[in-house]
Homo-oligomer: 134 residues x 4
Amino acid sequence: MLLTIDPNNGLPIYDQIVRQVKFAIASGALRPGELVPSVREAAKQAAVNPNTVARAYRELQAEGVLRRVRGTGLAVTEDAPAYCRKERVKLLEERLRQVLEEAAQSGLSEAELRQLVEKQLRLLSRSRGRRGSS
Amino acid sequence: MLLTIDPNNGLPIYDQIVRQVKFAIASGALRPGELVPSVREAAKQAAVNPNTVARAYRELQAEGVLRRVRGTGLAVTEDAPAYCRKERVKLLEERLRQVLEEAAQSGLSEAELRQLVEKQLRLLSRSRGRRGSS
Amino acid sequence: MLLTIDPNNGLPIYDQIVRQVKFAIASGALRPGELVPSVREAAKQAAVNPNTVARAYRELQAEGVLRRVRGTGLAVTEDAPAYCRKERVKLLEERLRQVLEEAAQSGLSEAELRQLVEKQLRLLSRSRGRRGSS
Amino acid sequence: MLLTIDPNNGLPIYDQIVRQVKFAIASGALRPGELVPSVREAAKQAAVNPNTVARAYRELQAEGVLRRVRGTGLAVTEDAPAYCRKERVKLLEERLRQVLEEAAQSGLSEAELRQLVEKQLRLLSRSRGRRGSS
DNA sequence: GTGGTCTAGACCACC
DNA sequence: GTGGTCTAGACCACG
């Protein structure tokens, strides 16, 4: 469970954390009953203020994704995986829609747009490959 | 030159305006010497505060895309089209990269990711079609 | 809309604020469309840190009780009164139940318990009367 | 001497323990010279961390309600019953006052408030009856 | 050690 | 002026 924060993402940091936790649960990297990294640890790892992590975790509790185990930490709930898989699609579709809409407004033809998307997908799979083979 | 603002875009409104003006110039919809809508008019059309439009126009002047024509308004500069075409690609690639990277982090396989992108592209071209035929 | 905060209430301050706003809406003292006091103003009035008020207001937005009006403030939503009236009963019953349960555990007879409750209700209506007549 | 802990009470657990011990002494269920359950036993029975029980017992010793009997455990002092009876009324009145005050602030009329209180008292005496008959 | 709350104060986006 | 985000650091309750 490694958090990778980009402070210039546009998305608030706490939101990036919320998403990444949900994604980790959706993909099975975090399973029900497992503990998420402690507030302080996650904050250190992500080079972020503990309050910011705490806020993200608070929201995840409010959504029923995490539950508090007193004196122990925050654990993934039983319902979380199903919920997070739904959320994942929703969150990604929303963001994709926004960006593609903007691209469409830019006056590019559909062919040019597809070309742009293809280029980025290729770049992505290449960097993925690198990460995968390392 | 119609502005379409989405306040929940994540992008600040003034930035959305800056981008759309650049896009309009890049695509030839706005040509050197032409005037952009007045601050008040644009603000009314986009249902946005005039200060926000003013700020966007200020930035466009600072980048050399617009210039003041005393007593007349703001006109597109001669250098703007070349500049804006470069910007357009840069801005779109940057946004696309961010979103696709996030999608990649979400644990979706490349196939699933492509499927999502295709779905959104189809949705987009459909809504474009509608707008085109209206 | 005056906030009265008791830092030794046991209830977190942000929660006291959340409750009081809901109560004010439930009782009709705050109506749909009206603005709640600004974060800074409420913080000053309640002698509390603005962040604490902001957190309370954030939760009220998340519950759909308040909505943000950009650059203007936070307004009561249309749905808020119905929702808050339901909440009011729920919140009060929960608290009453806790306290009466504790009282019951204390070994008092039911008669003694009723006497205690009556005494407090009388004290309350007296202080209410004073406030009402002032 | 059975402890019934509600972790969502708002009251800290150690405080709930302190109160319940005092209540047991006030009502005569625990008499001077009698031993309270050992820290470990009480912790097991109440499903609570031993440290938390230890803290409660520490406070009860500081208040002069319990005293260490070397090698034996903690015993109720001679002065405890009188002291605890006073405390009981004080503690309950304080809590009742808080809750009723909050209820009053909620904008309910006195009649509605009384109705709420009656409802909870009835619920309480019913559950008491059940417990009594078991 | 864990999370939760609160304060203080900075900076940003928007009106 | 409005709310939103973030940092820094203190204190509390609990294990």
